[in-house]
Symmetry: C2
Amino acid sequence: MQPSAGRVLALAGGVGGAKLALGLSRILPPERLTVVVNTGDDEEVHGLHVSPDLDTAMYTLAGIENPATGWGLRDDTFRTLDALEQLGGDTWFRLGDADIATHLRRTELLSTGMTLSRVTSELCDRLGVQCTLAPMSDDRVRTVALTDAGEMAFQEYFVHRRCEPILSGLRFDGVETAAPSPAFQAALREAAVLVFCPSNPFVSVGPILAVPGVREAVAGLSGARVAVSPIIGGQAVKGPAAKMLVELGEEPSATAVARRYRGLCDVFVLDEVDAALAPEVAALGMRPAITQTLMLSEYDKVELARLVLKVAEGG
Amino acid sequence: MQPSAGRVLALAGGVGGAKLALGLSRILPPERLTVVVNTGDDEEVHGLHVSPDLDTAMYTLAGIENPATGWGLRDDTFRTLDALEQLGGDTWFRLGDADIATHLRRTELLSTGMTLSRVTSELCDRLGVQCTLAPMSDDRVRTVALTDAGEMAFQEYFVHRRCEPILSGLRFDGVETAAPSPAFQAALREAAVLVFCPSNPFVSVGPILAVPGVREAVAGLSGARVAVSPIIGGQAVKGPAAKMLVELGEEPSATAVARRYRGLCDVFVLDEVDAALAPEVAALGMRPAITQTLMLSEYDKVELARLVLKVAEGG
């Protein structure tokens, strides 16, 4: 099957993944795009089921994301959180008023027995997101950060402690018994192109690949597999990917990311500033592709998406 | 024990009860006042534990209530609910953004195993409410309206259906196994004055009296018991009390309310417009007291509270 005809499966985490997913959504008919998102960083906040990566993707695809923060909704207010602070509630996990509606609705629908996939689909319908957006799994998986300050839930590490503890490892609680979501399973069977979005390889793509059967399915995929480096010039565009690489004993480089996708990826997209790394990538058994990968404007996102599909076709 | 020294226990439902409770709080030291509130109309709304009567009392005692609506907080906004509507959620139960913080915090604390009494106490501390405010019970009691349109949860009847179905009866699910809350039990033992606030006798005071042991404790109370009529000139100041009286086969009058408190009450306070009903009240075995009972200003609330304590002392 050719990319110009088949299904495109994008694996995404937070902001970078959502940006490329948006680019892909601008050039693919909705029935050809499946975006599968990490749920390892889901968290219960004040009893609400918050899915940060799903929301970032959903809000971005709906065009209502907050570009300044990378989480939450544009122009949101914080009345509830301000009042909650007065009542003695924890408020380090910032939830805007309109954003809370998403979490209330998700939690309510989940409590009726709906799967996270169906809830996500329902929310997407309401927000006008037309492509398929799905969690990596409908089963509960929770990323735990192993650090010099002890083990802690991912959001505690990521938001509350601002990634300051030194990371020694990660654990994805529950992943052993998790199954890929139905949309993920379908896309893994039929994808003509699989895209590793420029997301954190440890805490965004890592949990997705850790779901039983996924790594094998990706390794055996007949379609083209393209990864975009989240590391540009030794730095993460956003988030702790570079810091994590160092703390986990690797150099903070696009090559180190590529190394994690060895055997799972055919083409690895490097930023122009990392052109010199092309031989290292090639030595890992991937075809390097070089372009501008920083996505500042919507134009950038669409251009990068075009390049990804082009290299997937062998161009 | 004299009212000038002992504990005052006020039984309250919604707005009218909260107003008199505020009046009492202005003239009694906080350690002498216990306000016990109906929880039969508590409801799970979008997974949040909402206690409408407790909140009305708490917000009123904290001076942050919305006087225009009788529920919610002054100057609250509705961002979350607007967003929830877009997501397909029910929005007939109006929850303001700051109000949602109360329900989030209550639900979160309850989920840790705290009793509703302790949660209420914690919220009151945060909001600066100094007297004791307590639920009638820490056990789950749910008022069910029996109507010509079938049985329905109280908020469905009261808010969603605007009391339009014809009422044939009420049921308090769970009340048989409910116990009075600790503060209620303590106040029932030692109250020098018990006040039936001008609240709906069916759906506000009714559930409180239905908690096992309460009716007997009130009947045997050594302190003075004073009720204030919620019906003035055949009409309820607020809410469906008059309509309910008619539908349940009684005349919509202060006397009909007094009849429900026979054997439980020593003094029944009538509004001046109902002065002619004094003989009917006396015939029920209660001493009638006549004053202006409509509480428009804070001055009115304090004056009515003063009158209540005065008649309790035999004045």
